[in-house]
């Protein structure tokens, strides 16, 4: 067990922080699941944090100068490099503390980016920061495409999904590849803490963020973030879809603490994937054959996680 987590006291519905380090009034679309998740992340972290943000929806909607939704120190440099920026911030605080130029008190450092920033263009930067062991947490807000630039596919776009660069056509059925398993790549870095989370399970999400911040060394949290604009789903259903993704086993919730998988929520009575797929425009074109394939593979992937969690 990680010593920092031994006496871990989680949030409960009764002791939710009132503070909103991410202010309302930003410019996200109605029903944006990503900014909702980010709000929960920030509530869990509080104000003693420095945020390094990748280019993407969250950066754009929170910072149109001269307005800013950030009540904590925040920096944006570019798209792929928030983990390196965080490396610099972390190293700076470390040495400045040693030299008496910064208070000894711990400050959390978070790098945050979308699935594109994390799993595609920024993978090397994150890998470097994880491998070097900086004391920071990286949060990936996965809305399964490059939303900021108009819904292009990413490595995290799910199988079959329509995006503007994976359009279905006579020769294609949308995204032809299976979703990249970014959390597993992070686990391969032997970092102390990796978790997946969903805004539909807000306490679970906030507790995982808190743990990721507490752990010494690098930590990674991958958050499922419905995007009504990119998915073609009703804005008021973002949380419903986030929950369905878990209940259908499409997005299993788990932690990997020092390499050990722990299921956060065992799905004993899974809903069929179809329930999740329907109602989202991005999957509308899929045939029964595709849906059956997705069902089979989702079950198998989920079983893999279950088996990993049984390895102890």
């Amino acid at each position: 067990m990680i010593p920092e987590l031994e006496k871990f006291k989680g949030f409960s519905a009764k002791n939710l922080p009132k503070e909103e380090p991410l202010a309302p009034g930003h410019r996200a679309c109605q029903g944006c699941g990503e900014v909702l998740a980010l709000r929960m992340v920030m509530k869990a972290l509080g104000k003693n944090v420095i945020v390094c943000n990748s280019t993407g929806c969250m950066e754009i909607i929170t910072s149109p100068y001269p307005q800013s939704a950030w009540r904590v120190p925040w920096i944006h440099i570019a798209f792929e490099n928030s983990a390196s920026v965080a490396s610099g911030v972390e190293s700076a605080l470390k040495v400045m503390r040693r030299k008496g130029k910064f208070p000894k008190k711990h400050v959390d450092i978070m790098a945050v980016g979308g699935d594109g920033a994390t799993g595609d263009i920024g993978l090397q930067w994150i890998s470097g920061a994880m491998e070097r062991g900086h004391d920071f947490l990286y949060v990936c807000l996965d809305n399964e495409a490059y939303m900021n630039t108009g819904v292009q596919r990413s490595g995290c776009t799910p199988y079959g999904a329509m995006t503007t660069t994976s359009p279905p056509g006579s020769q294609s059925f949308g995204q032809v590849t299976w979703k990249k398993n970014v959390p597993a790549i992070m686990v391969a870095h032997n970092i102390p803490y990796v978790a997946t989370a969903s805004p539909a399970y807000y306490l679970d999400l906030m507790n995982k963020i808190k743990k990721a911040a507490l752990v010494k060394g690098p930590a990674y949290v991958h958050i499922y973030s419905p995007c009504p604009t990119g998915w073609g789903s009703p804005g008021e259903k973002s949380i419903e879809y986030a929950r369905l993704a878990v209940e259908t086993k499409i997005f299993p919730l788990y932690e990997v603490i020092e390499g050990r998988y722990i299921l956060s929520r065992k799905i004993s009575k899974p809903k069929p994937v179809e329930e999740y797929l329907k109602g989202q425009k991005r999957f509308k074109h899929l045939s029964q054959e595709h849906i059956d394939y997705i069902q089979k593979r989702v079950d198998a992937e989920y079983e893999r996680i279950v088996r990993l969690s049984q390895m102890g």
Binding site: K47, N48, V49, I50, C52, E59, I60, S63, P64, Y65, P66, S68, W70, R71, V72, P73, W74, I75, H76, I77, A78, E80, N81, S84, V85, A86, S87, G88, V89, E90, S91, A92, L93, K94, V95, M96, R98, K99, K101, F102, V107, Q124, W125, S127, G128, A129, E131, R132
Partner: protein
Amino acid sequence: MAKRVGIEVSIAIAEAVKLADADVIPAYPITPQTHIVEHLSELVANGELDAEFIPVESEHAAMSACCGASAAGARTFTSSSSQGLSLMSEILYIPSTMRLPIVMVVANRALSAPISIWNDHQDIMVQRDIGWIQTFAENGQEAVDLTLHAFRVAEDRKVSLPMIVNIDGFTLSHVIEPIEIPDQEEVDKFLPPFKPRYKLDPRKPISMGPVGVPEVYTEAKVALDNALKASKRVVLKAWDEFAEIFGRKYNPVETYRTEDAEVLLVTMGSISETAMTAVDAMRDSGQKVGLVRIRLWRPFPSVEFRKAAGKAKVLAVIDRCLPPGAVCGPVGEELRSLFYKVPGAPKIFSFVAGLGGRDVTVERFEEIVDKAKAYAKRRPKELYEVIGVREK
């Protein structure tokens, strides 16, 4: 007392960074910059320099980490070259507008293809417009002095801009020269601690690097341009103070035997030393030739350059960079604009020489001067000429 020692220039630069007590050094190795960062990591490993050396996985990450470290209020240094500098390129434009005073030594090297580890100025010339203050060193002592000067200028609150010191790869980085390594006490007198006006600190949260909507983007860029131009005063003042403390005086533009000169060679960096030898030889044979060397490249010292050029009739400008398809090399272009329609302006001829480690010898300089003289009488067909291209 400062000691004069025989030392490799790269090692001496690292020692200067130690004297500056840098806090964070994110770096990635590339020839011919390696000895600088190797020695720095050694100094950190030995506890001689209390800094965080971040062995990043690429130059892009190095510059990104520099931005984070500098924004958090740390004195930040890195070094790169050629392909590495190009890989950083996306990020280089950012700390200038965000006013993060990172100091970088660039060991100038050619750009691929073909891959070449040898010296010219193509790597830095493609980064001309990144908005950093830039100087060029001629020798090892200057490389050390300009490195200390860079911290002093960059971090000055009136400036708050990143700064590059260019040193020629191999011809400077890898040679052993007699260099006076300054005393710590003197350095401390010259270089106050870094106290940024703004930094990332939860006690006083600010947002850095927001979206520049069309209503503010122009103003942000104009602010950078103004700051870069205004930095010249601090650059000069810091050189004055440097001279007072260390006894070595630097100017944005240096002249050599320019009095009564009719033809002036114009150079940057270490080839200026050979150019001086060439000037001596030509003077000996009765030619009125001198040399103007540009030390401060950005902001461009227009007034100082015009003054240095004096009443010369011909400028033979040497670029160590060949921008394909352009009207001439970047230094040539700069000077042609500078003198455009200025009454009594000299005729300016642009030469490209010394690419990818090709030596520029005394004879080459003589050839350049001969050509410039001839062109002054009879306009050349081309706007520039590449010197020393082999026939076979």
